[in-house]
Amino acid sequence: MTTPTTTTTTPTTTTPTPLTAPRPDETPAPTPAAARAVDVVKTYGRGEAAVRALDSASVTIPSGRFTAVMGPSGSGKSTLVHALAGLDHIDSGRILLGNTDLTTLSERERTLLRRERLGFVFQAFNLVPALTAAENIALPLTLAGRRPDPAWRAELVDMLGLGGRLEHRPAQLSGGQQQRVAIGRALVARPDLVFADEPTGNLDSRSGAAVLAFLRDATRSLGQTIVMVTHDPVAAAYADQVVFLSDGRVVDELAAPTAESVLARMARLDAPEGA
């Protein structure tokens, strides 16, 4: 039997940083951008049936901020985030994570990069059912053949309110608890960037609010960069800024959003279609 080569990792440019201090940009460049998409084009299908999901979309995700991506169904918001996370190929344009151009990486390099530098929270089916909560949290590290820093893990568990639930399996946890475990997993490797795809989509409003508050706190107190896709204006209001997409392009940005202001912008985006 062969042993998996979990110990080989691509060198990353991250350096350990104090927990609570905002993370200094890893690059000497003056722009404090965690990730950037430049003129990204992505087409699904061919010929007549071709759909241009991203039509030269460009966006900058500032470091240490909580960014929400919004847009009507089919606006390309999920495609954009998947592209930023290196989960999806793009037809043209560039995706930069710090100084790394994802479009030049091989499949294996992108996998290792996800493991080392990115965190994910999905809408549903976020955890591996066979593993306990603690094992699920540690998953990205154990896949890389490392162990979580005990102090950091303890702090995460404490903040997520998961003490006493660590030995439970996903089936024994509520939806909100499962999603908090997923957030713990996304944060445990101290990634450069956390992607959350409709993280409250399957939760009731109280559990959803707790999850969103936690994501906001992670940015405020830990300086964690987070990108969240949502279609819920209330969820978007937890973010520091909102990026609006329509027909595959970034059409607007909104700083310090509230539910009302987001709703108003959304209404404006929808208007031309409805007229």
Binding site: M1, T2, T3, P4, T5, T6, H82, A85, L87, D88, E107, R108, T111, L112, R114, R115, E116, G119, F120, F122, A124, F125, N126, L127, V128, P129, A130, L131, E135, L139, P140, T142, L143, A144, G145, A171, R185, N202
Partner: protein, 841 residues
């Protein structure tokens, strides 16, 4: 509903593909076995019919039975004057005086060894025989006609000289080449035709004949002629119709095919049973994946019965499709099986295959039935899916094994264990069979409880390999019923293989051993290893005349009927046997055999309550039932050295048997004679008898073991087939569970599991399942073999011989095969697109 069934089957064809394959493979085995044995029987029938095509009646000396263990009994010669009486009888048209038997052909000093017999016969022409000259002329004194096929294979042409031997031996000139009917020869045989006096001399018949063949005069009714001849010749002679005589000969030759058929069909059944597990599993998994769809059907108003019928219909379609393609495949498989069986030393005739309607019906029927039975439980489960399942967000967790299963499983297991131990102690093989059946049932019932626990234990080392290893173990444990079915199928196959391996190795040890009692330095035996041996008695005489030899004792074998059951006996020379073997008697004396009578083995004496002075009824071929006095009881080691439990003197044998061939000539060398020198002296002395082979004890043991080994090899190869189907089961279950786990795999990939780690995870699961099956299978096989041996051994201690090396090979092969079974699913999993996987519903 039927249209929905059809649409579903077509839609899920990729998921059902391996089920189809499993059914097809199992059915191919069944069909192949039937086609092969049908074909062989038909070819043998044809062979004997053509050779007796124009004969109305055959006159032979009577015999109590025609054949035993596939060997035709030899009859006393028909005296020449009886043949004359037949020829002069009214109503008889033509007669042919026949001398025929088994012979040997040597070309340029080399023995021609066809897979079947070498037939030596006096020349005859139509209407008596189907022989026809292709070139040259009929044989006269010191001349021979060979079948054209053999002559071609041996590069012989007219004018060449060959040596033909039976009881005697002669050099003969080839004067003609014959065909048999349309064919150039007989399948697997060599045909040697000489004139009548030469045949009589070679076969040691004197002026006697093997048989007299009769063609009735024109206008005479054959049944009338038959009864007239029978009356005038008296009870000592048997008058049979030519076709009946041929059929009896064919039946003797077909006896081994009957055994082969039973063995092949039993192995095919094992393949089908293993396939049934795979089928049940596939349907179970596919239906679990479709439970929401089924619930939707129920919610839309389908009754449970309709859902059941729909699933059952799918099984019917898959079963039929698999059975039909399997039957077609089986015809091809028959060729492969024939090659395998011939490789294992069975003489099967070559020729075009026979496919009967019965074969088609049995194959298609068996395959379809097994598929339907296997789908019964999954279909019932599907029918009980509640309509609300349609609304449920996540798939329901698999049920934990119920209390009923646990209790009944353990009870069955306890019963099985008790039964096996009792059977082993009481020494009844039938009890072992019952225990084995109980054990298999317990295995099936307890599988879902035991398999996951075993997987936990066996998979422990995987944890050290990090998350992929841990996940591999976890997913092997996750669905107990599924893992259990996969494990059980493979374990069953492996249990059978290890059972056969252990049993065979013990049998080999028994056949090879048991000769401690023999003190002879050298043995002369037939290189062809015929059932009754095949040495001319002249061999023993010539060896005895050598100055290098101190003592010689020859033994021969015979079949007799023991209240209708075929049994075997050994004939010895009581005067010389003690000089080549240590004979231990526990009652009576060996020398008492000289007065006629029988010595029986200790075990037989005990079982039948026989003591010296009692009589034993034995039916011999030549003179029917006789009552022989028991004159002695021999120890089991002596019986083992002599190969049978009943011993006569050679003189007594000669009174009851016409056969005149020795099986083994035991040779004790004179003091101070070097073995190598003795060997060359012996070789020179028996040079006229090409089948006489000189062996020391080790070589003789090896020759006996080789026969066991060949059969063992055949059975193992065929069992490998069942294991192959079980391995398909691993591939299938994994592939299907990967479909089920698509989102989980997508998630793992998203959070950074590399493709390599993923592939490793899937393969590790496959190997783990195989390893659990290996543990269960080998333990079961060993246990059953031990119980069977204990059950078989009454009186003597039968030693369990565990072939560690071979079992280790089985283990390694199974685990590596498990790895191979995981390759395809692993590749499939690794190829899943992360994004599609993670967003799949």
């Amino acid at each position: 509903m039927w249209r929905l069934t059809l649409a579903n089957t077509v839609a899920h064809r990729s998921r059902l593909a391996l089920t189809w394959l499993a059914v097809a493979l199992g059915v191919a085995f069944v069909a192949g076995s039937l086609v092969l044995t049908d074909t062989s029987s038909r070819l043998l029938d044809q062979q004997f019919r053509t050779s007796a095509a124009g004969v109305d009646l055959t006159v032979r000396t009577g015999a109590a039975f025609d054949s035993a263990m596939g060997v035709e009994v030899q009859r006393d010669p028909v005296p020449a004057d009886v043949a004359d009486r037949v020829a002069d009888a009214p109503g008889v048209g033509q007669v042919r005086r026949v001398a025929s038997g088994a012979g040997q052909l040597q070309v340029r000093g080399q023995v021609v060894a066809p897979k079947g017999p070498t037939l030596l016969s006096s020349w005859g022409e139509a209407p008596f025989t189907a022989y026809s000259l292709r070139s040259g002329r009929a044989p006269r004194h010191d001349e021979v006609v060979l079948d054209a096929a053999t002559a071609r294979a041996q590069h012989l042409s007219l004018g060449d000289t060959v040596t033909v031997s039976a009881t005697g031996s002669r050099r003969l000139r080839v004067v003609g080449l014959a065909g048999i009917g349309d064919a150039d020869g007989l399948p697997n045989s060599a045909v040697v035709l000489v004139d009548l006096p030469t045949a009589q001399a070679l076969l040691g018949l004197g002026s006697g004949l093997s048989s007299v063949e009769v063609v009735g005069a024109d206008g005479v009714s054959v049944p009338d002629l038959r009864s007239r001849l029978a009356t005038s010749l008296g009870a000592r002679y048997a008058v049979t119709s030519g076709q009946d005589a041929a059929a009896a000969s064919a039946d003797a030759a077909k006896e081994s095919i009957t055994y082969l058929r039973v063995v092949l069909l039993a192995l095919a059944a094992a393949g089908l049973v293993v396939g049934a597990f795979l089928i049940a599993n596939t349907f179970g998994i596919v239906l679990a994946q479709r439970s929401r769809e089924l619930a939707l059907l129920r919610a839309a108003g389908a009754t449970g019965r309709q859902v059941f019928a729909s699933v059952f219909g799918e099984a019917l379609l898959v079963g039929l499709a698999g059975s039909l393609s399997g039957t077609a495949l089986g015809v091809g498989a028959a060729y492969g099986l024939r090659g395998l069986a011939q490789g294992a030393g069975l003489a099967l005739p070559d020729g075009p295959l026979t496919v009967t309607a019965q074969t088609l019906a049995i194959s298609v029927g068996a395959g379809t039935l097994v598929t339907l039975l296997a789908s019964l439980a999954p279909a019932r489960r599907a029918a009980t899916v509640a309509p609300v399942e349609a609304m449920r967000a996540s798939d329901p967790a698999p049920h934990a094994p119920g209390r009923l299963r646990l209790v009944s499983g353990w009870v069955l297991l306890a019963l099985a264990a008790a039964g096996l131990v009792a059977a082993a102690l009481l020494r009844t093989v039938a009890g072992v069979g019952v225990g084995a059946a109980l054990l298999m049932t317990a295995l099936v019932v307890l599988g879902p409880v035991v398999a996951p626990r075993l997987a936990q234990a066996v998979g422990r080392p995987l944890d050290r390999a990090g998350v992929p290893g841990q996940l591999a173990r976890a997913s092997a444990v996750r669905n107990p019923r599924r893992t259990a079915a996969t494990v059980t199928a493979l374990a069953l196959g492996l249990a059978l293989i290890s059972f056969v391996t252990v049993l065979g190795s013990s049998a080999k040890a028994i056949t090879a051993g048991g000769t401690e009692a023999v003190t002879a330095d050298l043995l002369v035996q037939s290189s062809r290893d015929e059932m009754l041996g095949g040495l001319s008695p002249e061999v023993a005489r010539r060896v005895a005349a050598l100055p290098e030899v101190e003592a010689v004792s020859a033994v021969r074998f015979g079949h007799w009927l023991d209240k209708g059951t075929t049994s075997a006996l050994t004939a010895v020379d009581p005067a010389t046997l003690p000089r080549v073997a240590t004979v231990t008697m526990t009652g009576g004396r060996l020398s008492a055999l000289d007065r006629g009578g029988v010595v029986v083995a200790e075990k037989v004496a005990r079982e039948r309550g026989l003591r010296v002075g009692d009589t034993l009824a034995m039916t011999f071929p030549r003179d029917g039932e006789q009552h022989l006095p028991v004159v002695g009881v021999m120890s089991e080691t002596t019986a083992q050295a002599l190969s049978t439990s009943y011993v006569l003197s050679r003189a007594t044998y000669a009174a009851h048997y016409t056969e005149d061939v020795d099986a083994t000539v035991y040779v004790a060398l004179a003091r101070g004679v070097d073995e190598a020198r003795a060997r060359s002296a012996l070789s020179a002395a028996v040079a006229d008898f090409p089948n006489a082979e000189i062996r020391d004890q080790a070589e003789a043991a090896a020759a006996r073991a080789a026969a066991v080994e060949q059969v063992l090899g055949l059975v193992t190869v065929l069992l490998g087939f069942a294991v192959l189907i079980a391995l398909l089961g691993i591939t299938n279950t994994l592939a299907l569970s990967i479909v089920e786990r698509t989102r989980e795999i997508g998630l793992l990939r998203a959070v950074g599991m590399t493709r390599r780690q993923l592939r490793w995870m899937v393969r590790a699961e496959a190997v783990l399942v195989a390893a659990v099956a290996v543990v269960v299978g080998v333990v079961l096989g060993l246990g059953l073999a031990a119980a069977t041996l204990a059950g078989l051994s009454s009186g003597t201690e039968v030693v369990l011989n565990v072939p560690v090396g071979q079992l280790a090979a089985v283990v390694v092969v199974a685990v590596v095969a498990g790895l191979a079974a995981g390759l395809l699913p692993a590749r499939r999993a690794a190829r899943l697109d992360v994004l599609t996987a993670v967003t799949t519903q």
